[in-house]
């Protein structure tokens, strides 16, 4: 693994390895001293062309916990606002010796362009591109699902075979949904997408998931082990709501997770949300604050998952910046 661009690229073995490594990282984060010397001397650049709080802070925390140097770059206040291209920005970062570039961009495919054109020798990690992919979010969701639903006991080495997951809400604009559909399918879970017809993307028939327009029917018939609520991305819906649904109230009535729907879920079912939440729109305060909501834990797991991704991409000699020794020294 050299880059992490899309969950569709991950094999089952890759995905389980990342989750297992995340488990090891999470164990170190329970200690008093959380910092590890593992990536000392490596440089990670956070290249954010789009606003983000938790993803950027999460990557920054993960890199710092592994002792890497972190450079934060946000498009606002940089030369990008003077018209610099992605290529020139990337070449600049390359000249500064970045070992990994964590990129968030409003254009789908920007991380792929960065990774495949030789502009940077480092690893490229997609932290969200347009309406395409957000692989570390899907990985932290899968890690959270595995921890809660595949136990009790040690879940190391397990996949998510047999789990039923409902992904509910604004699927059309959601890179989280796209990443999760592929990853959860690879891990053996069954995914049902629930959205109003206007928020279901064209071509969804090719995705490894079922589609339903009725949340109550899915809860009653499929008894999902987890529901993942998606944020209604009003900033991506053009003026006056964009006509995707008649009114926020109607959306909430049909697709919002409230106390009644929470009660209708199986007893063991958990509630996920990638954040930031629109309380009162796609999720009620009752649901968001219930003990079955693992939304805050998702954030903590995000640091462990991103540490795992950075470790697997940067630490070994198969990582781009490492020098490969001819003969491996033994024992020590």
């Amino acid at each position: 693994m050299r880059h992490l661009l899309s969950t569709a690229d991950l094999s089952l073995a890759d995905a389980v390895r990342i989750l297992d490594t995340a488990g090891s990282m999470a164990a170190t984060q329970a200690r008093e001293i959380k910092k590890l010397p593992t990536l000392r001397g490596r440089t990670v650049v956070n290249l954010f062309f789009e606003d983000s709080t938790r993803t950027r802070i999460s990557f920054e925390t993960a890199a710092k916990r592994l002792s890497a140097d972190v450079i934060n770059f946000s498009a606002k206040g940089s030369s990008v606002s003077k018209g610099e291209s992605l290529k020139d920005t990337a070449l600049t970062l390359q000249a500064m010796g970045a070992d990994a570039v964590v990129i968030r961009h409003h254009a789908s495919g920007a991380p792929h362009t960065l990774a495949t054109n030789g502009w940077t020798h480092g690893s490229v990690i997609n932290a969200g591109d347009g309406m395409h992919q957000h692989p570390t979010q899907a990985l932290l969701d899968a890690y959270t699902l595995r921890r809660h639903l595949m136990g009790p006991g040690d879940v190391t080495g397990r996949d998510l075979a047999g789990l039923r997951v409902a992904i509910v809400g604004d699927v059309l604009h959601s890179r989280v949904a796209r990443s999760n559909v592929h990853l959860l399918h690879t891990l053996g879970a069954e995914v049902t997408l629930v959205a109003p017809p206007t928020l279901v993307p064209v071509g969804v028939g090719a995705w490894p998931a079922r589609v339903s327009y009725h949340l109550d029917a899915v809860i009653a018939d499929e008894k999902p082990d987890a529901v993942m609520m998606l944020r209604v991305q009003r900033e991506r819906m053009s003026s006056a709501g964009g006509g995707f649904f008649p009114s926020p109230l109607e959306y909430t009535r049909r697709y919002g997770l409230d106390a009644r729907r929470l009660d209708a879920l199986p007893d063991h079912a958990i509630v996920l949300h990638p954040g930031p939440m629109n309380r009162g729109l796609e999720i009620s305060a009752d649901a968001a604050d219930s003990p079955r909501a693992v939304i805050v834990e998702q954030v903590a797991n995000g640091v462990a998952v991103r540490m795992a991704v950075l470790y697997l991409l940067l630490a070994g000699s198969d990582a781009p910046a490492g020098t490969i020794s001819d003969e491996a020294k033994v024992n020590a």
Binding site: A315, G322, S325
Partner: protein, 198 residues
């Protein structure tokens, strides 16, 4: 191929495999019993001792030492006596090997502060694993003392580190490979020397 990150043994277990057997199962058992008594003697009992095995093969060795300590001092409890200490993330040679899988670190609930930590590993060679282990320990607590037990000391140290308890000193050339096989990981107990003179 590095025995420090073992691929589960792909060889057919036969007694005439490539290496010379330098220690068999009875010799390994005797060496561990002697080390156990040395640990108790040096530390005037086992009350404050914590045995930390370094995965993969240090951990079963630490467990076997603990059994022997408990046989002598029945007041000790295995759960407070043995732990595992993975040093992968503290190694200085990570960039020279394919990505290593991170092992398990499990420190007894009583912690390390004020204890006598005995690190347990199968082979002592360059000393770099032990350096990494010392760094890992300092992030986990402040033991009163740290000691080192190794089943085999094959020499060729690259750092000023020595073992307090040694099962067998085994002078080797750097071209040779020392392999420790343990019942728990490999289905039998033996120490082999392979290769060399090439």
């Amino acid at each position: 191929m590095s025995p420090a990150v073992p691929t589960e043994n792909d060889e057919t277990v036969a007694d005439d495999d490539a290496g010379n057997v330098v220690l068999g199962a009875p010799e390994i058992a005797r060496a561990l019993t002697r080390i156990a008594h040395e640990i108790l003697e040096r530390n005037k009992g086992g009350a404050d001792v914590v045995l930390l095995g370094i995965p993969t093969r240090g951990l079963p060795l630490a467990r076997r030492l603990a059994e022997r300590l408990i046989a002598v001092e029945p007041g000790l409890h295995a759960s407070q006596l043995v732990g595992s200490l993975d040093v992968t993330m503290y190694r200085d040679d990570l960039a020279h090997h394919p990505t290593r899988t991170i092992g398990e670190t499990d420190i007894p609930g009583t912690g390390l502060d004020g204890k006598v930590v005995v690190l347990v590993d199968d082979v002592l060679y360059s000393g770099r694993t032990i350096r990494a282990a010392l760094d890992a320990i300092s992030d986990l607590g402040r033991p009163r003392a740290v000691q080192l037990a190794a089943l085999v000391d094959r020499g060729h140290r690259e750092l000023p580190i020595r073992a307090d308890y040694v099962g067998k000193n085994l002078p080797t050339s750097t071209g040779e490979r020392v392999r420790v096989l343990l019942q728990e990981c490999d289905g039998r107990d033996a120490v082999l020397i392979e290769g060399g003179a090439r």
